[in-house]
C-alpha cells in the first residue's frame, strides 16, 4: 500500500485497526473462559467413569425444563462460533494489512524484543484451527474412536482415544497443547495491552506473568488427560 499523501477526515474509532485488535482480544478472552470450563469438565476423568459421564449428561440437561435439552450447550456453542468468526476474520484482516505494509522484505532481519510465542501467533493459530476441526470430529460431531470401539460412552471414548496402541493420536493432542500454550502465553498479555490495561512497566510485567500462568495452567491441565491414559493412570 502506498501512502495517501492527504489528510483523511471523518475517521471513526470503530473503523480502525485498533478496533479490530480489540475484537481479537475480547474474542480471545471468551475462548480462555471456555477453555477453563472445558478443562474443569475434562479433569472429571480423574473422578472415574460414572462421574465423568454424569457431568457430560448434565451439560445437556442443565437449565431444564426452562431450556430445551442441550439448550445451554447450544447457547454456548453459538457464542463460541461467533467468537471464532470474529477472531479469525480480524486475524486475517490484520495479517493482510501487515503484509501490505511491508511488501519488500529485509535481506537481514533480527528479532531483538519479541518472544518465540509472539512470532508464532499466526501459524500457531492456524494449527489450532486445524486441530479444533479434528477435535470436534473426534469427540463431538463424528465421534471417531481410533481403536474402533464404542462411541456412545464419553469416558470410554476418551480412554480409547489416548490408548497407547494409537499413541500418535496422543502426540497430535500434546502438540496441539504446546501450540495452545504458546498462543495463550502471548495472547493473554497482548489482549491486556490491546484493551489498554498495561500503562506502566509494573502492569506490563504482571500481564506477561499472567500469560505464562494461564498458558501453563491450561495447556498443562489438559495435557494431564492424554498423559494419564498413556501411562495407565486412567483406565476403563
Amino acid at each position: 500500500m502506498t501512502p495517501v499523501a492527504t489528510l483523511v477526515t471523518g475517521s471513526k474509532s470503530t473503523r480502525s485497526t485498533i478496533a479490530l485488535k480489540m475484537l481479537m482480544a475480547v474474542s480471545g478472552l471468551i475462548f480462555i473462559g471456555f477453555l477453563l470450563a472445558h478443562m474443569y469438565g475434562n479433569l472429571k476423568v480423574f473422578a472415574g467413569h460414572d462421574a465423568f459421564n454424569t457431568y457430560a449428561e448434565h451439560l445437556r440437561t442443565i437449565g431444564e425444563p426452562m431450556l430445551p435439552h442441550a439448550g445451554l450447550l447450544w447457547i454456548i456453542r453459538v457464542g463460541l462460533i461467533a467468537a471464532l468468526v470474529v477472531h479469525v476474520a480480524s486475524a486475517i484482516a490484520l495479517t493482510r494489512r501487515a503484509h501490505s505494509a511491508r511488501s519488500t522484505k529485509y535481506v537481514v532481519k533480527k528479532n531483538k524484543g519479541s518472544s518465540l510465542s509472539s512470532r508464532t501467533m499466526r501459524w500457531g493459530g492456524l494449527a489450532l484451527f486445524l486441530f479444533i476441526i479434528w477435535h470436534l470430529l473426534n469427540f463431538t460431531i463424528g465421534k471417531i474412536n481410533p481403536t474402533g470401539g464404542a462411541t456412545h460412552d464419553p469416558y470410554n471414548l476418551l480412554v480409547d482415544t489416548f490408548d497407547p496402541s494409537v499413541w500418535y493420536i496422543s502426540v497430535i493432542y500434546l502438540l496441539a497443547l504446546v501450540a495452545l500454550g504458546f498462543h495463550l502465553h502471548h495472547g493473554v498479555w497482548s489482549a491486556c495491552q490491546t484493551l489498554g490495561f498495561t500503562n506502566a512497566a509494573s502492569s506490563r510485567a504482571r500481564a506477561k506473568d499472567a500469560g505464562l500462568v494461564v498458558a501453563i495452567v491450561i495447556a498443562g491441565g489438559f495435557a494431564l488427560i492424554p498423559l494419564s491414559v498413556l501411562f495407565g493412570i486412567v483406565t476403563k
Partner: protein, 247 residues
C-alpha cells in the same frame, strides 16, 4: 579495520533496487557509522561511481533524520541512532548489511533514503494542541503533576526516526503514535482535543497503510529513545475511551 559492506542501491523511487557489495579499508573505530559511509562515498566518488545516498542532519542523535537497517537491526546493534553508532561496535573483517527502512508507507526515495512524510501527516492530523498565539503564558499557570510531567517529557523524546516501524514485522507505527498520544494526553493542554486527536491520528495511521500492532515488542527494543510499550497501551486506552464517547 577492513569491512565488507552490502548496501541497498536504488537509483530512484520507481527503479528496481539491488544489494551491492563494497570493500572498505582503513576504517577507524572512532568513526561514526555515517562517517564510515562518508569514507565509502569518497572512495566511490574517486572511482567515478554514484555515492550512496543516506539521510542525516544533526549527527547528534536528536533530530531523527538518520536511520538505517544495519545487520537486521534498526540503527544497528546499539540502543542509539545511526549517527551515534560508532565503528567500535564492529570488528575488523565484519560483513555489514545496510538497508533502508522497509515499510510501504515509507517509500524509498533513493538508495537508503526513505520518505517519512506519513509521520508528518499523522502529526498534522491531530498531533498538536490548538492554542491562541500571543505572549507565552506563565509557566505555573497550568499546574502539572510531577509524575505526569515526567511521563510527558519521557515520551516527548520521540524523534520520529521511524525505527519502530522499521523493526516491526507488521510495519506498524503504533509506538510513534503511542508516544505522541501519551505526550499530549498527559498534559492539561492536551485534554480538550484528546478524543478527537486519537481518532484522527489513528485514522491517518491506518490510511497511510501502516500495519496493526501485535504487541511483540520489536519497536521498543529498537527505539533509540527507549520509549516503552506502555505508550501503545495508553494509545489503545485513549481510543477505547473515545469509542465509548461515540467518536
Amino acid at each position: 579495520m577492513n569491512l565488507t559492506l552490502n548496501i541497498w542501491r536504488q537509483a530512484n523511487a520507481t527503479a528496481a533496487g539491488a544489494m551491492h557489495r563494497y570493500e572498505l579499508a582503513g576504517v577507524s573505530e572512532d568513526m561514526s557509522f555515517l562517517e564510515m559511509l562518508d569514507v565509502l562515498n569518497e572512495q566511490l566518488n574517486a572511482n567515478g561511481e554514484e555515492p550512496v545516498a543516506f539521510d542525516s542532519d544533526c549527527r547528534e542523535g536528536i533530530c531523527g533524520m538518520c536511520g538505517l537497517m544495519i545487520n537486521g537491526q534498526a540503527h544497528g546493534p546499539e540502543v542509539t541512532t545511526t549517527c551515534q553508532l560508532h565503528m567500535r561496535s564492529f570488528k575488523d573483517g565484519d560483513e555489514i548489511t545496510v538497508e533502508p527502512w522497509r515499510a510501504d508507507p515509507f517509500p524509498v526515495v533513493k538508495d537508503l533514503v526513505v520518505d517519512r512524510s506519513a509521520f508528518d501527516r499523522m502529526i498534522q492530523n491531530g498531533g498538536f494542541i490548538s492554542a491562541n498565539t500571543g505572549s507565552a503564558p506563565d509557566a505555573h499557570a497550568a499546574p502539572v503533576e510531577k509524575k505526569l510531567a515526567d511521563l510527558a517529557f519521557d515520551v516527548a523524546t520521540c524523534i520520529g526516526c521511524g525505527a519502530c516501524v522499521a523493526a516491526c514485522p507488521n510495519g506498524s507505527a503504533s509506538l510513534f503514535l503511542g508516544a505522541k498520544i501519551t505526550h499530549l494526553g498527559s498534559l492539561p493542554q492536551g485534554q480538550p482535543e484528546r478524543d478527537t486527536r486519537v481518532v484522527s491520528m489513528v485514522g491517518q495511521h491506518d490510511a497511510e497503510g501502516f500495519g496493526g500492532c501485535t504487541n511483540i515488542g520489536e519497536c521498543a527494543a529498537a527505539c533509540p529513545k527507549e520509549i516503552p510499550l506502555d505508550v501503545i497501551s495508553r494509545l489503545n486506552k485513549d481510543l477505547r475511551t473515545a469509542m465509548a464517547k461515540g467518536y
